[in-house]
Amino acid sequence: MTTPGSVLVVGASAAGLTTAEALRRKGFEGRLTLLGAEAHLPYDRPPLSKQVLSGEWQPERAQLRPESALAGLDVEFALGEAAVGLDATNRTVKTERGRELRADAIVIATGVRPRAFPGSAGVGGVHLLRTIEDTLRLRGELSRARRLVVVGDGVLGAEIAATATALCDKVTLVGPQAAPMELQLGSAVAKALAELHVERGVDLRPGVGVDGLVETDGHVSGVRLATGEVLEADAVVVSIGSIPATEWLAGSGLTVENGVVCDAHCRAAEGIWAVGDVARWHHDGLGRSLRLENRTNATEQGLAVAANLLGEPRPYAPVPYFWSDQFDAKIQVFGLPGGEAELVEGDLGFDAGTGKRRFVIRYRQDGRVSAVVGWNMPKQTRLHRAAVVDAFAQVAAPI
């Protein structure tokens, strides 16, 4: 493989920027361009639903790197300019301004966009959260709203509900699962999270679907549940999952199926790579394809793509990791929770000394450790990670 003379990274968030930084750190000296749809310098998303929404951080604090560090990268930033098309054969990206950018290698890092609730477009007081603007708009709304309903009980919905309890009088969290984040935490830990939310005053409505939004004079006034009950609301956050931002790849010749389909080296086609939330790649350890929407994956996959792109073949087979901070709980997840839960540290009840829950749960599925999940025990959780590493490294026997 020859080293490319130029690289174009499409997407200027964590995954795209990490890839660019890693290329430079590995000695890539060619032309490097970072094309981003948002006008801002690259910023980090995990703080949006927590420190930025709460007001604890000024938005600038979420910037990924200081300007001086970005200047030192010798990268041509093309920000506020979305990609609208790709010619994979000629490795040319068309932008919304009508420019055509060609490079020897292209890295797709366009991330995901939040799924909207059907019929909610244009209704006042209904929010999605992905960008810094979304966050500031929601923050402004919550300074006026008394009753917030969060629709969707995944990571983002649970975090927003937790943060919002400090900002408005009444917060309701609605979702189809038996407990918030059940899919991401496993049922044993999700149960503890449900208890924590209730203790802190969240009106939790588990196991229920949402039929629609109720609108009064162009502004949302309630959420109608599948049971017929209407929850009154001054503001609604919709956090019902994300869709890979791949519309611009229509007609490109790449395989797009719930993300850009890649091989074990995160390669989508000759000279084309994908990284971060948008990439569905083959995880050799699991023996199946995987797409991860978490912050750690953006970085780790960026490092792997940079290595692969420069001709140091490195199959990408990470142990997935994410964290979530809600109220006084610091939750750490290594692996993909599921199966039987076993308490390996601490106690599911309150610790007499700290007044907090502190525990580590290990999940086992099909005879393998599938995950370890820690609650206010980050260090101890990491020390149990090794059990998960083994499970994710069991590569299928060579033929």
């Binding site: 990490t18 780790e300 990791y321 964290w323 959780t381």
Partner: protein, 66 residues
């Protein structure tokens, strides 16, 4: 080199400890990063670079010129 850690950004992942165990640790009680040496020797440079680049919360700053 000079290393700065931001405790308020730290999420407790422990990635830094895995990358550079001679330079970083975590507090037992809350998992927050502990800097074992502020200005480690050159033999630690690669490991510290790795730690700073993989930190998912951007809580580690490395000044190589210092």
């Amino acid at each position: 080199m000079k290393i700065t850690v931001y405790e308020d950004k730290c999420c407790g992942a422990g990635s830094c400890v895995m990358a550079a165990p001679d330079v970083f640790d975590q507090r037992d009680e809350d998992g927050i990063v502990v800097l074992l040496q502020e200005a480690p020797g050159a033999d630690q440079l690669e490991a510290v670079r790795e730690a700073a680049s993989i930190c998912p919360a951007l809580a580690i700053e490395l000044d190589e010129a210092a």
